[in-house]
Amino acid sequence: MSEPTVFLIDDDASFLTAISRLLRGMGFAVRSFDSAKAFLNELSTTARGCVLVDLKMPGLSGLDLQKSLAQTENPLPVIFLTGQADIPSTVQAMRGGAEDFLTKRAPKEEVAGAIRRAFERDEVERLKRSRLRELRSRLATLTDREQQVLRHVIRGQMNKQIAAELGINERTVKLHRTSVTRKLRAPSVAELTRLCQEVGIEPRRDPDKP
């Protein structure tokens, strides 16, 4: 796994050189790109760190990049840099989940701080994402029937009730439950419920109250 890197994107070569020089001097790993497109082409799924991008650029702007990045598997946090901030683009950037919004001449400590926060967030998000991926892969191993049973269990129903609703033997329900618990590595009902919430599995709705 590579070290956290600042991905710098600016069409102004002069500024790009200067800021990368500074950030390197501050000990950050830096990669520079002169356009959003070039960056997106080279972005790997394993890349860590954050993006520091000029808000206004020809072709894909910073905001366009933010949108495109959010749809990839590796949505790195985005810090916007701008010559001078105007309200509409700031609002749009923050709504799009911008990590930070800085002017190009912001104090270097502020820039460094923003980068570190973005790095931390990237770590957290990355962990979240990997756990989620893991949980999903565990869920994927359940059979259809096991999934049906799981959704009844997390509603807090007893085996007897589940058997009646599904029209199967109570003993069969018990077998499915054991299998689910083992596959998802969740020994208690509480654990199962939390896990399901995490991956977004809804409890089976009460058929009487649709």
Binding site: S14, A18, P58, S61, T103
Partner: protein
């Protein structure tokens, strides 16, 4: 003249219409008794049926013929005679009971006039006749001469007139001739005054004056003479009274109705200044002045001239006003251009701020990096040198932006310099880039190789290009376009005439056919917040540079605005071989 004045005056004094009959006997030339008798009988027979109210007898030189005439022919009719002679009124006439008037010459006044006109006069030669009447006149001249001290008088009174011509031509200076009446000279020849004057005056070496008015206009300088018009009027007054039944008292009156008259031509001949002519003296024979002779023509000409002058003046005033108005318009145009530049600046201001922040940001970051490197134990000098070089470069960049902004803001006169087209377009691109970036528009430059430089005002051309570029961006902002088509092409090439054609091409919606012909008109705009001045000012600028600006729709999409500029050295291109 006398007769006419008499008639006019009499008609005026008597209200009722008067019939006049005139008979001429011409007694001075045909003086025999038989003729007289025949004439009398003729008159008696002719007017037998006419009830005459008054008989006027204008007597010539010889009274004798008239002695019995009026009472004899018209015994019952009152008669008035008039004579202009020095002779005593004949006894028979006095006895006849008719009234009359005698007009007299005035030698004294004539001599006085002579002295006024010729102050250095020393001698006067008097020419006179031999008849009884002439003698009487001469007597009065002699009387006058005695009353005139300081002047020597010589009397040539017993001569044949024609023999006097030679001595008259040899008279010394400061001498003058005074002509008395010459009813008969020594040879018995009778002369009218005009005749004797015509003979004497051209021959004489000195000025000739005359007692009688007849000589004036025939060579005499002048004299105190009887005015026939005045005498005629005088007689008419007497006649009018007679017609009303009251004959004047005394029956015979002597009038000296003298007018001083001089002949302008003769004054000129003898070099007598008109300033010496007394105020009461009539100057006759003065050529009519141009004014008198051509009064109408001159009036008309003067009127025409005045009208012409007035027209010219009005035109000049108009011209001045027009000039002033033109200057005002020019000034307003300059102000508008300035205003448009300011508004262009307004649009560009935020972009330019960005443009400045860019290098400033770079400088800051470089400086911070350098500081950091310097704190290390063994700083990387190569890196530090690179940083300093970059800082310098960015500083110049920021300065350049400010310079451009200042030159755009400054109001300048046309300042033509040799401009490289490519450089100009690059500059436009630099200025417009940030704005284009904000709108997501890509600007590219496509220029033909080997373009000649143009002679133009950099700032103004830049203004035109920026205006066109901003318009092009607006054209695409308004239109919905898919990705990739948001671009502008700044192009430059040579047209067929060898001029440089610079174009700004967009890929927007283009212009509608109704709008296309009007885009360069002032206050024409398709923008909600536009002034409609940008293109109008651009047109003014390009035309001031001797170029043409035009707009057209592209065959595929969007519109192209282009303008031509004459190449700086057209001759240089003519030398190049043509490709086609």
């Amino acid at each position: 003249m006398l007769e006419q004045a008499f008639r006019t005056e009499l008609s005026r004094q008597c209200q009722s219409p008067i019939e006049f009959y005139a008979e001429h006997m011409d007694a001075s030339h045909f003086s025999n008794k038989e003729l007289y008798q025949i004439f009398s009988d003729y008159l008696a027979a002719k007017y037998a049926g006419e009830p005459l109210d008054l008989v006027m007898v204008f007597l010539g030189r010889d009274f004798k013929l008239a002695e019995d005439l009026p009472p004899h022919v018209f015994p019952k009719v009152p008669a008035i005679f008039l004579t202009a002679n020095e002779l005593e009124v004949p006894e028979p006439l006095m006895r006849s009971g008719i009234a009359g008037m005698v007009a007299r010459y005035d030698p004294a006044d004539t001599i006085a006039l002579m002295r006024q006109l010729q102050p250095d006069l020393q001698k006067i030669v008097v020419v006179g006749g031999v008849s009884e009447s002439d003698r009487k006149t001469l007597t009065r001249v002699e009387q006058a001469s005695r009353a005139t001290p300081g002047i020597e008088f010589e009397f040539w009174t017993n001569n044949v007139i024609k023999e006097l011509l030679e001595p008259a031509s040899e008279l010394p200076p400061r001498t003058a001739l005074l002509m008395s009446t010459i009813l008969a000279d020594a040879a018995g020849q009778t002369y009218y005054m005009s005749q004797s004057a015509q003979l004497l005056a051209p021959a004489a070496s000195v000025p000739l004056y005359s007692l009688g008015g007849g000589a004036i206009g025939h060579g005499a300088v002048g004299g105190a003479v009887m005015d026939p018009a005045v005498i005629g009027m005088d007689v008419a007054t007497v006649a009018a009274k007679a017609l009303k039944g009251a004959l004047p008292e005394p029956r015979i009156s002597v009038r000296t109705n003298i007018s001083r008259i001089v002949d302008w031509q003769q004054l000129r001949r003898w070099g007598i200044s008109e300033a010496r002519v007394p105020a009461d003296c009539v100057v006759a024979n003065r050529p009519k002045s141009l004014w008198e002779e051509h009064k109408r023509t001159i009036s008309l000409m003067v009127a025409v001239l005045l009208a012409q002058a007035a027209t010219i003046f009005a035109l000049l005033v108009q011209l001045a006003q027009r000039r002033r108005a033109e200057m005002q318009i020019q000034q307003q145009r300059a102000e508008l251009a300035h205003a448009a530049r300011l508004s262009t600046m307004g649009q560009l201001a935020s972009s330019l701020a960005h443009e400045i922040n860019q290098p400033l940001g770079a400088i800051l970051r470089n400086a911070e990096a350098a500081e950091m490197f310097l704190q290390r134990d063994s700083p990387d000098l190569t890196e530090l040198r690179a940083i300093v070089a970059d800082i310098r470069k960015d500083d110049q960049r920021a300065g350049g932006v400010i310079d451009r902004m200042r030159s755009l803001l400054k109001r300048q006169k046309l300042e033509r310099t040799s401009l490289d087209i490519r450089e100009l377009l690059d500059e436009t691109l630099t200025i417009a880039r940030s704005d284009a970036r904000a709108r997501g528009v890509q600007i590219t430059i496509e220029t033909a190789a080997g373009l000649p430089p143009v002679l133009a005002d950099r700032v103004q051309l830049q203004q035109v290009l920026l205006n066109l570029a901003l318009n092009a961006m607006d054209a695409m902002t308004n239109s919905t376009n898919e990705n990739g088509t948001s671009r502008i092409i700044l192009g430059a090439e040579r047209d067929r005439e060898g001029k440089v054609e610079i174009s700004v091409r967009d890929f927007g919606e283009g212009l509608s056919s109704e709008r296309l012909p009007h885009v360069f008109e002032p206050f024409f705009t398709t923008k909600t917040n536009g002034m409609g001045m940008g293109l109008a000012i651009s047109k003014t600028i390009i035309e001031a540079h001797g170029g043409v600006i035009r707009a057209r729709n592209n065959p595929d999409r969007g519109a192209t605005f282009s303008f031509t500029l004459p190449a700086e050295r057209p001759a240089a291109t003519a030398a190049q071989p043509s490709r086609s």
